[in-house]
Symmetry: D2
Subunit: 145 residues, 4 copies
Amino acid sequence: MYSYFHKIQYYETDKMGIVHHSNYFRWMEEARLEWMQSVGFGYCALENAGIVSPVIRISCSYHHAFTFGETANIHLFLEGYSGVKITIGYRFFDASGKDLRAEGQSQHCFMGAKGLPLILRHALPALDTALSSLLNTDTSRPPQM
Amino acid sequence: MYSYFHKIQYYETDKMGIVHHSNYFRWMEEARLEWMQSVGFGYCALENAGIVSPVIRISCSYHHAFTFGETANIHLFLEGYSGVKITIGYRFFDASGKDLRAEGQSQHCFMGAKGLPLILRHALPALDTALSSLLNTDTSRPPQM
Amino acid sequence: MYSYFHKIQYYETDKMGIVHHSNYFRWMEEARLEWMQSVGFGYCALENAGIVSPVIRISCSYHHAFTFGETANIHLFLEGYSGVKITIGYRFFDASGKDLRAEGQSQHCFMGAKGLPLILRHALPALDTALSSLLNTDTSRPPQM
Amino acid sequence: MYSYFHKIQYYETDKMGIVHHSNYFRWMEEARLEWMQSVGFGYCALENAGIVSPVIRISCSYHHAFTFGETANIHLFLEGYSGVKITIGYRFFDASGKDLRAEGQSQHCFMGAKGLPLILRHALPALDTALSSLLNTDTSRPPQM
């Protein structure tokens, strides 16, 4: 499990007085890119190697809104890795880590310079190894949604 | 089925050269609020009546990216209405309406001024009637995802 | 003078209940790129020709806020063109075109593929001619701020 | 002088490969609200007291773009305070604090619940005192633009 904090900004609120729901997807990206950096594969390095990792599918369930003045504590879990696709789960807590506000999930593939899907084992074996090992050793992840 | 057009803006792209995925959720909102207006229940009127309709869950699957210079044609379908909850489906096409780029779905409840869920049949019977009738008569919607 | 309409979106508001001020700069871009298209030089074509036109300086003065449910009518004026730099003025009105809500100004240069400034007369003579002629003939523009 | 760091996000870039210029205004807001918190007047507390501080005018000059992977170091200066209006200057550096990338300025007034301008000395004397004293003692600010 990887923990990421996002301080909520005024410009992220809407006239309902709470954070606009589209921002949660941006925070997932923030958490995901920090996590990849922590695993040793920063996104800049990936892009420089001609590899991008677009979103195939993404979702979020909202239980309780965040608002300005709060900090979101996002727990990120590697939920699945198939060699060509990666599934990541997200749990959005308040700063205390106790109040579950939202849950998200994203799926990504890996693509090369020409927009063609990559088999990571061939294209970037070290990342393939890191993800496989992480999937097997991270027992902290909650059951899949 | 309700059809909505969104002209893609430069500021909606990211350094991958395509529209950032978080924007699709904003376009769903654009389409949804226009559709509610067309059904006779503009969101301003709802808010003035003390009713808000927050997102409970939202998702999007991306098949093929949009980029700057294109116009998205979004088809919106009322997929479900339970009296307290509404489910809306979205299909994102290119301007010709032939190339399916993405598919989305959102669920919403209705809440009153104190943040409590509303039963629409009591709170706003006319909208309840409109939604029920729409659900039964719109046979153009695709099978649920 | 070029007139552009922007329908205000819910996601553009903040918890003050009005449009967040950063969005005005996005609407200036919308208006500017539409205007360039109308002059015969769409931004896609420029980019394909290896020319970009970054913002050097931009400003906005806010008189009276916009909010959700309104449509902004933006008047765009070519205020200056020096051969290497272009200055554009913007006046934000309500939909009626009578209530002046904000005024903006942006300055842009033209740059080639290697990030070096371009002299438009050499790089794209047709655009140079169009801008020069527009500057001399558009007498509708207000005095510079 | 107050120093604020913003880690640049992928979703803040555009297809030019650099940060979209509208985001600099969001970072100014981040820096400004953090600075107000550090002075003892968090924006939540202000809003709870029925006071808002809208932007009257804002500008930014761009020297050199930021891009994904960088962290912006924003220096904030109280450039002016008249009792009813406040002027804030911003200098955007790279993380090292040596490479000046952009310069900004914002002006704000203070308004009460009914949208009427406030004289801060009457409405919130402690903030008036804090700002006056800060204006006189902060000799680190650069000459006004």
